[in-house]
């Protein structure tokens, strides 16, 4: 069959496919295509066939390019990206995320060690010696932290920025803390070094502040403030760290795969952990902004509530999404 006959015979198929790909009029693509989307698979396969024929028979480049364009456009409609439906999100949060964390158990443990060991060391050191804090932050910040928790009994803890509202702090925590989490993850791409660095650094800073504040006798206000959101925020940092370590591990010890292949296979699950951790950061920011600075529950109540949160987080990651029947 020569090209002219070929074109005459199949032009209607191509025109129909084109009308599905670029619906005319003001209706949007999805709606316009929706009515006749049922024809798409059949038309697409025909166009694929025509493209293969056109190529092997050496038809003119313009015709082949037109068919390539048709096939490319139809392929995009045939294989759309997965939608972020409510059920997908729900399944992720109730099953996928905790299961992924459990599957990543040993790296989570390593990440927790890299975070909590420096934290404890810095805590002890800063608790004993009031000068240690100056090794990790400048004098202004130290003073700010000291004032922040030097609140008279029954008043609201005013975190860091004087007189800012809770909502301001909500935005501040979301941006700051989640950003640190994402950085820790991306840092894992440098053979894990970036992830280790951010884990240890943040462990040191948090530990030093806690130790220092407790050391100068403002422990009550401090612990009452941090108890509520500590479970969510600290575990989210550790999880981001473990995701970063997973990238680093794939690069350092790819096993029997190429480094790139190992990295690619480990990146999706690591990304899922980061996505889950982002949700935790969001919740933590909410607690930290709207619950933690409240003066009314007794510090003891707040600390007990905080411990309760730790228990809940622990329960979530150990039990949620387990198929007990299996």
């Amino acid at each position: 069959m020569n090209q002219e006959q070929f074109m005459r015979q199949y032009e209607p198929v191509w025109l129909e496919l084109e009308s599905i790909l670029n619906p005319s009029g003001r209706r949007r693509r999805a709606r316009g295509a929706g009515e006749r989307i049922g024809d798409l698979p059949n038309l697409y396969r025909q166009a694929c066939h025509h493209l293969a024929l056109g190529r092997s028979r050496g038809y003119s480049p313009v015709l082949v390019r037109r068919l390539e364009h048709l096939v490319g456009g139809a392929q995009r409609l045939m294989y759309p990206p997965g939608r972020l439906s409510r059920s997908r999100i729900k399944r992720f949060l109730t099953t996928g995320f905790p299961a992924e964390v459990r599957a990543n158990r040993s790296l989570v443990l390593l990440s927790a060690l890299l975070f909590f060991v420096p934290l404890s060391l810095a805590f002890v050191a800063a608790h004993r010696d009031g000068a240690v804090i100056h090794a990790v932050m400048d004098a202004d910040s130290v003073e700010r932290f000291e004032q922040m928790y030097a609140t008279p009994e029954g008043e609201r803890v005013d975190p860091q920025m004087e007189g800012q509202s809770d909502f301001f702090m909500f935005g501040y925590y979301i941006r700051n803390n989640t950003g640190i989490g994402f950085q820790t993850f991306a840092g894992g791409l440098i053979f894990g070094i970036g992830a280790v660095f951010f884990l240890v650094l943040n462990g040191f800073i948090i530990g030093a502040v806690a130790g220092h504040i407790t050391g100068i006798g403002q422990g009550d206000a401090f612990w009452a403030f941090v108890a509520g959101h500590s479970a969510l925020e600290l575990s989210a940092i550790v999880l981001c760290g473990s995701a970063g370590l997973r990238l680093g591990h794939a690069l350092i010890a790819p096993g029997r795969e190429s480094r790139l292949l190992a990295l690619r296979r480990n990146a999706r699950p690591a990304g899922r952990i980061v996505a889950g951790a982002a949700v935790m950061f969001l919740l933590a920011a909410f607690v930290e902004a709207f619950w933690s600075p409240r003066p009314w529950p007794d510090p003891l109540v707040k600390i007990v509530a905080g411990l309760g949160m730790w228990a809940l987080v622990g329960l979530y990651f150990s039990r949620a999404g387990r198929d007990d029947a299996a």
Binding site: N2, Y44, H49, S60, V62, S165, F168, F170, I174, A186
Partner: protein
């Protein structure tokens, strides 16, 4: 197995679809992508300015700053993800440069791949202005920065809607030689491009292809007409 010629000489990458047909992708190099990034960065700054001013006017101050910080966070980390997934792989900067992000099997980019490639921007950006990303792009076959390699994505040129077949004006005329498939295709390609070439170039190329007309020494315009006639004949015109 040898690669097709355009994969050796050009940056075209062929991907086989599940239907068993090859789709070709043309990966974009660092320069158009840098321009796309610059456009996106400008738009992001503009977004900050617009939201900053609007919130400042409409809301009490500390509520506005809180909301602004949230928007800052969202734009910083999710600008690319939202655009790429919801707008078929393009951000405003990418579509200005005619680029699109796709999975490396040519399917449209999805949430997890887009999230990965954009979270890892931080690593590609190091030590400054995508230094790592540039090196990674130059070292890889398809100009992929680290984020692309990890997420399994590519940034390719959007294929434009191809031109209509040119009207054949020349009188169809059978070739006087037996032509191989390659030669036939060259003549077809010449027939299609001829309208966009200058007269001198047309004459020059037609003279090279002269032997297929079986005549020599004709005037350049005649040779051109006859070569175009052969091209039309190959296409099937009679």
């Amino acid at each position: 197995m040898s690669l097709p010629l355009d994969e050796v000489l050009d940056t075209v990458r062929r991907v086989e679809s599940p239907e068993g047909v090859d789709l070709s992708l043309t990966p974009a190099g660092p320069v158009p992508r840098a321009f796309a990034w610059a456009v996106d960065t400008l738009i992001r700054l503009l977004l900050y300015a617009v939201f900053g001013i609007a919130l400042g006017i409409l809301l009490p101050e500390d509520f506005a700053t809180g909301l602004f910080l949230i928007i800052l966070f969202a734009v910083e980390w999710f600008y690319y993800v939202l655009f790429e997934v919801l707008r078929d792989g393009t951000t405003p900067g990418k579509s200005a440069m005619g680029l699109r992000a796709v999975h490396d099997d040519a399917t449209p980019i999805g949430w997890s791949a887009s999230l990965l490639r954009n979270l890892l921007r931080v690593a590609d950006f190091l030590p400054a202005l995508y230094g790592t990303g540039l090196v990674a792009m130059l070292l890889s076959r398809d100009f992929r920065r680290l984020g692309d390699q990890v997420a399994g994505t590519l940034v390719v040129y959007t294929d434009e809607r191809p031109a209509k077949l040119a009207e054949v004006r020349a009188r169809p005329h059978p070739p006087r030689l037996a032509l191989t498939l390659d030669e036939q295709q060259s003549l077809l390609a010449f027939g299609e491009r001829s309208a966009s070439l200058t007269q001198e170039r047309n004459a020059e190329l037609a003279a090279l292809a002269g032997p297929v007309t079986g005549q020599t020494g004709g005037r350049p315009e005649e040779t051109l007409d006859q070569v175009l006639g052969v091209s039309a004949w190959i296409m099937g015109a009679r």
